[in-house]
C-alpha cells in the first residue's frame, strides 16, 4: 500500500464535449459530407436514389457497400464508380432482374445469404466480432465467402459463423421523422445497421409535426435527412453525365 496515494480528483468523463440529442435534422448533402469519406464502409439499407446522386456528384471513391440488396440506388452508386467492394446477399431490382451496373462492375465481392447478413448486422450491433446462424449448409457459398464454423459449447453442434458488420456509417431509410429527430419505421435490419455503425444517417420521405419518442437506447449523434422521393433515372448514361458535369 502506498503511503502517498496517487488518487487525485479523477472525474468521470471529463471531456468537454457534450452529447447531442439522439438525432439531428440535417440537409442531405451536409450529412453525407460529414459521414462518408473515400474508403468508408457503408451499410446501405434502403437508401434512396438522391443519396447515390449526391455521393456520385462528390466523386466519393473506394466505398465498401454492405447491403442485403443495394437496389437501384446502390446500382447507380456502383455505376458511378464510387464502390470498390460489395458485400451483399442479393442484387436485384424491384422487377426481380439483376441490377445491371452491379452485374457488370469490376469490384471485389463478398456474397452472403440474407440471414447471414442480418446476423452479421446483429453481431455488429451487439459489439461482437461474429454472429451465429443455421445457414450456408450444403451450399457453394460456404466455400467462397467469409463463413466459418463454431461449435456449441453445450450441445457440441456445429453452426455457421459470420464476421460482424460494424460499418463506418449506416445509411438507412425510414418512413417519417419529426422536427425533434424522432423516427417512425426504423426497424429490422435497418435498425440493427444503425446500432452496428459508428455513425448513421436515416433518410425519411416525410417530416411531420410530432412522433412518439424513438427508442434507440444508446444511439447518439444520429442524423436524419428528409429526402423527397427522387425518380429512378430513366437513362443511366444521362444521369452519369449529369452527376459528373
Amino acid at each position: 500500500m502506498t503511503g502517498r496515494s496517487r488518487v487525485g480528483n479523477v472525474r468521470v468523463r471529463s471531456s468537454t464535449t457534450t452529447v447531442p440529442p439522439m438525432a439531428t435534422i440535417s440537409a442531405l448533402a451536409d450529412a453525407l459530407d460529414a459521414l462518408v469519406r473515400n474508403g468508408s464502409e457503408v451499410a446501405w439499407e434502403g437508401a434512396p436514389v438522391a443519396v447515390a446522386t449526391v455521393l456520385a456528384r462528390r466523386r466519393v471513391r473506394d466505398l465498401t457497400l454492405v447491403a442485403l440488396n443495394p437496389g437501384i440506388s446502390g446500382d447507380l452508386l456502383v455505376g458511378a464508380g464510387c464502390v470498390a467492394r460489395l458485400v451483399t446477399s442479393a442484387v436485384a431490382g424491384p422487377d426481380g432482374a439483376v441490377l445491371p451496373r452491379i452485374a457488370a462492375a469490376d469490384v471485389e465481392r463478398e456474397d452472403h445469404t440474407a440471414t447471414g447478413l442480418a446476423t452479421a448486422y446483429d453481431a455488429g450491433a451487439a459489439g461482437l466480432p461474429f454472429g451465429v446462424l443455421r445457414g450456408y449448409v450444403g451450399t457453394d457459398l460456404a466455400t467462397v465467402t467469409r463463413v466459418a464454423t463454431v461449435r456449441c459449447p453445450f450441445t457440441g453442434e456445429d453452426l455457421a459463423a459470420v464476421p460482424a458488420i460494424a460499418p463506418d456509417v449506416a445509411i438507412v431509410h425510414a418512413r417519417r421523422a419529426d422536427r425533434a429527430g424522432n423516427v417512425d419505421g426504423l426497424v429490422g435490419v435497418g435498425r440493427d445497421a444503425v446500432y452496428a455503425a459508428r455513425r448513421a444517417l436515416v433518410t425519411v420521405s416525410e417530416t411531420v409535426e410530432e412522433l412518439p419518442r424513438t427508442e434507440l437506447p444508446g444511439v447518439a449523434g444520429l442524423l436524419v435527412a428528409e429526402v423527397p422521393e427522387s425518380p429512378v433515372p430513366a437513362d443511366f448514361a444521362a444521369w452519369l453525365a449529369e452527376v459528373r458535369a
Binding site: 442479393a90 442484387v91 440474407a114 446462424l133 449448409v137 450444403g138 451450399t139 457459398l141 435498425r191
Partner: protein, 214 residues
C-alpha cells in the same frame, strides 16, 4: 403473365400446397401461392420476407417456400448466383437472398420455365441445396428440413426419387410429350411409373386464375 409462365404451371404448383406458413418469390411463385389460397388452401399464410424480424427469427418457422432459380440440376440443387466459374462468371445472377436457408429448412416448390439452359445436369454453383449428389447427402451435411419436393414447369412436374434423390418426371401438362420434356432437360430424365397428366383447371381454379391473372 411473364414468358415461360403458363396457367398449367401455376395450377400444378398451387395444387401441391395444403396450407402452412409460406414465403414466395415474386412473379409465378407468388401467383401460385395466391391461387392456392384462393381455392383449396385458404389457410396458407403468406409472409413478407421484408418484415422486421423475419430473417433471424421468422424464417426458421416457414414450412413451404415457392421459389424460382436460374438453374436447377438433376438433384434439385438451385443456382441464383453465377453462370460459369464463380471467380470469372459469364453472367452474374441475382444472388442468394433467403434461398439457402429456405431450402435447408422448408419444403420447397420450384417454379421455372422448362428450358435446356436452366435444366442442367449439375448447376454451375450450388446457391441452395437440393439433394446435393445423392439420397443421403442432405442428412450427411446436416440439412434436416425437407428441401425441394417438386420442380414445376410449363411442361410438367419433376420430383425427387427418394431412392436416388434425382428428379424424375411425375406429371405432364396437357398436350406435352415426354420427348418434349427430355429435349429441354440436360440429363437423362427418368419418368415415373406413376406418371400422371395434369388435370385441367376446375371451374374454381379457372375463376381464380382469371380473377388474379395479370
Amino acid at each position: 403473365m411473364t414468358a415461360g409462365t403458363s396457367p398449367m404451371m401455376l395450377l400444378a404448383a398451387a395444387r401441391l400446397l395444403r396450407g402452412g406458413i409460406c414465403v414466395s418469390d415474386p412473379g409465378a411463385p407468388t401467383a401460385a401461392a395466391l391461387l392456392a389460397r384462393a381455392t383449396h388452401a385458404p389457410s396458407l399464410e403468406l409472409l413478407d420476407p421484408r418484415t422486421p424480424g423475419f430473417l433471424r427469427h421468422g424464417l426458421r418457422r416457414v414450412e413451404v417456400g415457392l421459389v424460382t432459380a436460374a438453374q436447377v440440376d438433376a438433384y434439385g440443387n438451385l443456382n441464383t448466383s453465377v453462370l460459369g466459374e464463380y471467380d470469372e462468371p459469364t453472367e452474374r445472377l441475382t444472388g442468394a437472398g433467403i434461398l439457402p436457408e429456405l431450402a435447408a429448412g422448408a419444403a420447397l416448390v420450384v417454379l421455372l420455365p422448362h428450358r435446356l439452359r436452366s435444366f442442367v445436369e449439375r448447376v454451375d454453383f450450388v446457391t441452395a441445396a437440393g439433394g446435393l449428389s445423392g439420397p443421403l447427402d442432405r442428412a450427411r451435411v446436416g440439412l434436416f428440413g425437407t428441401g425441394p419436393v417438386a420442380v414445376v414447369t410449363d411442361l410438367g412436374v419433376l420430383r425427387p426419387d427418394p431412392a436416388t434423390a434425382e428428379l424424375v418426371l411425375t406429371d405432364l401438362h396437357p398436350g406435352v410429350t415426354v420427348e418434349q420434356v427430355r429435349a429441354e432437360t440436360g440429363w437423362p430424365l427418368e419418368v415415373s411409373d406413376e406418371l400422371v397428366a395434369t388435370e385441367p383447371a376446375t371451374d374454381a381454379e379457372r375463376a381464380a386464375l382469371t380473377g388474379s391473372g395479370p
